[in-house]
Amino acid sequence: MIEAGHFAAFLALILSFFQAGQGLMGQRRAAGLSAIVAFGAMTFSFVTLIVAFATSDFSVQLVAANSHTLKPFVYKIAGTWGNHEGSMALWCLVGIGFGAVAAKLLATGRPKFEARALGVQGLLNGGALLYLLLASSPFTRLDPAPLQGAGLNPLLQDPALAAHPPMLYLGYVGYSFVFALAAAGLIEGRIDRVWARTARVWALAAFVPLTLGIALGSYWAYYELGWGGWWFWDPVENASLMPWLIGAALLHSVIVTEKRGSFGVWTALLAVLAFCFSMLGAFLVRSGVLTSVHAFAVDPLRGSLLLAGLLVFGGAALILFALRAGKLEAGPGWTTGSREGALMGNNLVLIVATATVLLGTLFPLIAEAAGQTMSVGEPYFNLTFTPIMSLALIALPVVQAWSWGKADLSSLWKWGAAFAGIVAVFWLAGIGPFDIPLLAGIGLAIAVWLIAGAAMEIWRRAKTAKRLGKMPARVWGMTLAHAGLGFFVLGAVLETSGRAHTTIALQEGQATSVAGWQLTLDDVESIEGPNWYAERATLTARRGGTVAELQPHKRFYPAAQMPTTETAIHKTGLADLYVALGDGRRNTQGETRWTFEVFLNPFIDLIYLGTILIGLGALLSMFGRKTRVKEAEA
């Protein structure tokens, strides 16, 4: 069975290169057909892997190394992509899938351009498949087959983490087709309104799952690691944030190219960069060049191959870009005080923010080359990324009302006064009845500003309640996404500035009070799951009339010889009471005291609500009426 899958992957490889050849020669039909057949072959190949995992076929090396008969069925299947080889197979499947869907859906009226985009996609997929088959084959057999598997990294035995990689990869690899569109446009020498209309939809198709994938990963880290936080500025997290930021910049600049025909060169560059940052992310995560709390077992050889891939594809695209950028039509000019200028400002901030994240992420490598071992943590990013992004967030509600060509800037002072007013309210509230530090006050002001700004903008466009329902999907999408950004900031500021954290140690029967809650440790007992056993603490939490039972536990997975933390979270609607069980410590009298990390995380759900709104808004923006471009231009 697995041999058939192996063969199918080879078939997909040959078909991908055939697709590349046909496509680059301008054969739309042949390239499209091979993309679809390649997708069939790769799907079959991936299904054989899933079947091997589902049936615990330990004669397959990958299954033996990463699965176990006692593992729950869902996680046997999710285990397919819970390891390096399987996740690279998923990467190939997603890339080929994007090619096939594009082959079916692309209808720009420019067959040559479409053929070339499919051709470039074929090259990218062929490269990924070569890497899969030569450097990380999931199809290797073991002889003799072991009777039992070694188990999956137990941290991955979790619903959010089962769904996280496919989502994230839809995003990362989705940008490969955006890259292909940019390369095809550059080959043709036409990055114009028709090009942008198509590229925008595909850029959104990658942005939506990337956003949700990052949110899932963050949520998992929050409840599974037991550290009470949702973002740690870890290299692996930054690796996913950078393509997201570039992707967000792309979504904004492509609008200018679509509506006005300007920024074509810049938009094409961003389209190329988004996938380059996806590949950089893959390299950073898989090569182990950086210390990460999320690191898997890593392999330097594979790392260098991924780096080679990044250099080959990224380099080729940049050379193509350098050759063609001068020949592209520049489109109409623009001024700073216009919607074009505003969107360029958005891009500038997002690019600078990405650069600070990149610098912070790579700096330990640079320092290491100079003989210093160091790491860059949260304080660096708080001092750079946060203020830079704040600029864009403060400007957003103001400049989104600017019109194309030339905006009316006469009311600029009113906007400034309004924002200063909101900040003043929070500042006064901060020194008065509520204890809000100034910086948090500014953060809250920005959040309110964004949410109110999103509502005002759609009202400005609709003018009447009746027309609100008839606004185009794109406008609603923008409104949702910008309001979502506001909710995210609100949650992030409230959670970060209002978080309470204590470590406690209790014997059975003892009680203590934490952040307004009375916590009693009732007992600690041993329990057993399908492939783990655990120590489970039962705590009663009381505050006023509220009584809640919390059962954090600490699992041990014998197959992987690894413990994991299962936190207990009590949601009060406004805040999460979050308890993680630590180690049991025996004192000199022979009594065991259990340690707990206790967090009170206010409004953390707003962070995820905001992120989901951003994703939904982007999804909505994909639909609705197409922008009409004059026939002469098309």
């Binding site: 990294n153 709390v293 005080g337 943590g377 304080p379 660096y380 470590t503 180690d583 025996r586 340690t595």
Partner: protein, 141 residues
Amino acid sequence: MRARSKRLWGVAIAGVLLVSAVTLSAVALKQHADLFYTPQLLAEQGQPEAGKRVRIGGWVQIDSIKYGEGADMIFLIEDGSGQTLEVSYTGVVPDLFREGEGVVATGRFDETGAFTAENILAKHDENYQPRELKNARQATS
């Protein structure tokens, strides 16, 4: 002339943004890059400035963990060079924190030279250990 002066505004705003971003990053890196030490490096280079966040890596010395009355504890980090560092820490330790296993403690020295950890990182799974430790092991063995 008017169009050009408008464009100049844009360039000026971009310039200010870029210069401030570069300055901010440089300052932030200078202040907030956490230097990594092993006990041996500490002995050679002297103790870092009190209050500055640093990372200390090595192995938890066998029989060195002492628990206090609350969630506080003390343990020694060794690196095979004979040098050790005493670490005080209040909090839950990672699942794979054990005597004889690799550990990286992030924290600060105070004026008296005592080191208090804010965060303890141990091996993440059986196949992985913090990268700095691999280098430290190569350096000391």
